[in-house]
Symmetry: C2
Subunit: 270 residues, 2 copies
C-alpha cells in the first residue's frame, strides 16, 4: 500500500502517515492538488490530508478539493503537533540567535522565541528549514520542525515541545477512491448549502437533533462565487448507512440546495 | 482620530482602514497583540482587525484576543482583496520569471503564476515584498500586493486582479474601548461554550430560531486547553440591546457554560 501526503520527508504530514498507517510506502507531493491527483490517477492507494488545526482552523482548500473530486473519506487521525528546536551537532542552546521555519510554526512558538531572544526568519516549510540549516551549517541558527525531520537529517534536538500552546492538534483525513465500512464507532462528514433565509440552519440541524444524532463539528463558510451565501460543514457521530442517519440525510435533503456525503469512517480514539 | 492595524504601509489592512474610516491618522503595528495593546493603552482610539477571509477562513488569533481583552466590536467592513502584479518601472510582463509575496497571496494567485510560467517565492508580507523588490531593483521579479503598496513605493502595476478566485473578501472588525449604539441595521457577535452533550448546539440555536433572529455566521472551534470541547462563534442580525435579542441571550445563558457578547455594531452594506 502507498499513501500520498503534502510536504517533504520529515513533514508533520509524513509523521501522521506513519502514526496512522504504520510503516508503508509513501508518496510526498508538492501541493494538495498533487495529492488528490495522485489518488485519482491511482499512483497511490490513499492520501492523508490535514483538514483542521486546533489553533489555525479549517483548511478550506482541502474541503474545496474534496468537493471538486469524487473521493471518499475513509479515516481520520489527530496529530499532537510538537515543535522541536533543531541545531547542528555540538551547538549549544545559548548560541542560537535566529530560528528558521514555516511562518505558522514560527507563530506557534513566538512566545518561546521572544523569551529566549531568538529572532524568527521565515522559510518555505518546517522540514525544508532543517535541510536548509544542514546545508548552511550555521551554528547561530536553529530550525523549528518535527523530531522526525531532525532525525532524518542527523541534526540535534536542543528542546522538544517549544510551542506556546500545548493543545496544538491537527486533524487529518484519509481519502481514497472507494468508500469503506466504518464499523460501529463511526463518524460521517457532510457538506451542504441552504437557501439564505432566517431559520434555515435551525431546520437543517433539527434533522439531527430530532433523531439524537450527535454533531462533532459545524462550520459555516461564505460560499465561493456567491458572497453572503454559506456552505456548511458538519461531522456527525455514526455512519451514513445507519437507518436513522439515512432518514436524517433524506430529511436534510428537503432543505438543502446541495448536499454531499464526503464519507463515513472509523472515529479516531486516542 | 487614530486607528491601529497590523502590517506596514500599503498592507491590505491599511487600505481597509482608509476605505472604512476615510482619511485619518494611522498606527501600523507589527503583530495583532500590538494592535490590541495600542487600543487598551489608548495610544489609538480604534483598531481594524481582519477576522475572516472567504478563502482562508476565520482568524482564530483575533477571536482569542477579543476574548482575552475587554474591548468592544464597534463596526465591520468587507474588503474585496485584489492582488496586483507589481514591477520596477519600465519592466514588461514577459520579463517576469519570479514573484515574491506573502505565502497566502502567492497561494491565491497560484493558477495565474503557473499559467504565466512565473515561479513563486515567499516573503514576509505583501507590502514588504514591494519594498524588497524596490530595494533589489530586480527586473525579472514582480511583487504581489495591493494597488496602494505599488503607488506608495512608486512601482508599476503590470496587472490588477490576478487572484484565481474573484470572490476573495476579507471581513474586518473595528474594535474600541467603548461600545457604540449600532443603529437600526445592526449585527451582534457572540462567543460561547456548551456542555458537550448531544443536542446542546440545537438547543443553543433554538433561542434564536424561536424568536426569528437571523444568524449570519456560525462556527465551532475545538477549545484551546480542552480538546474535544468546543467554542462557538455566532453573529446574528440585530443589536444585543433589542428586547427580543436580550431575551434570546438570557435564554442562551441557561445552556451556555460561558457566554460573551463581543459587540453590537452597524452591519456593513455594500
Amino acid at each position: 500500500m502507498k499513501v500520498a501526503f503534502q510536504g517533504e520527508a520529515g513533514a508533520y504530514s509524513e509523521q501522521a502517515v506513519f502514526n496512522y498507517f504504520g510503516k508503508l510506502e509513501i508518496l510526498p507531493c508538492e501541493s494538495f492538488d498533487d495529492v488528490f491527483d495522485a489518488v485519482i490517477s491511482a499512483r497511490c492507494d490513499l492520501a492523508l490530508i490535514p483538514i483542521e488545526n486546533s489553533l489555525a482552523g479549517s483548511i478550506h482548500q482541502n474541503y474545496d478539493l474534496l468537493l471538486q473530486h469524487n473521493l471518499h473519506i475513509v479515516g481520520e487521525y489527530f496529530l499532537r503537533v510538537q515543535h522541536c528546536l533543531i541545531a547542528m551537532p555540538g551547538v549549544k542552546k545559548r548560541d542560537i540567535r535566529k530560528a528558521i521555519s514555516h511562518p505558522q510554526a514560527l507563530g506557534q512558538c513566538a512566545g518561546y522565541l521572544r523569551s529566549h531572544g531568538i529572532r524568527a526568519e521565515q522559510a518555505y516549510d518546517t522540514a525544508g528549514s532543517v535541510k536548509m540549516l544542514k546545508e548552511s551549517g550555521a551554528r547561530n541558527t536553529a530550525a523549528i520542525a518535527s523530531r522526525r525531520a531532525a532525525e532524518l537529517h542527523g541534526l540535534q534536538i536542543l528542546e522538544e515541545g517549544i510551542e506556546d500552546n500545548a493543545e496544538n492538534y491537527t486533524r487529518f483525513l484519509a481519502v481514497g477512491r472507494e468508500s469503506v465500512a466504518p464499523g460501529e464507532d463511526a463518524k460521517t462528514s457532510i457538506v451542504f448549502t441552504l437557501k439564505n433565509q432566517p431559520g434555515s440552519l435551525f431546520k437543517a440541524l433539527s434533522v439531527f437533533a430530532l433523531r439524537d444524532i450527535d454533531l462533532t463539528k459545524i462550520e459555516s463558510r461564505p460560499l465561493q462565487g456567491k458572497p453572503w451565501e454559506y456552505l456548511f460543514y458538519i461531522d456527525f457521530a455514526g455512519s451514513a448507512e445507519d437507518p436513522i442517519a439515512q432518514k436524517a440525510l433524506d430529511h436534510l435533503g428537503e432543505y438543502a440546495v446541495m448536499l454531499r456525503v464526503l464519507g463515513s469512517y472509523p472515529r479516531f480514539r486516542n
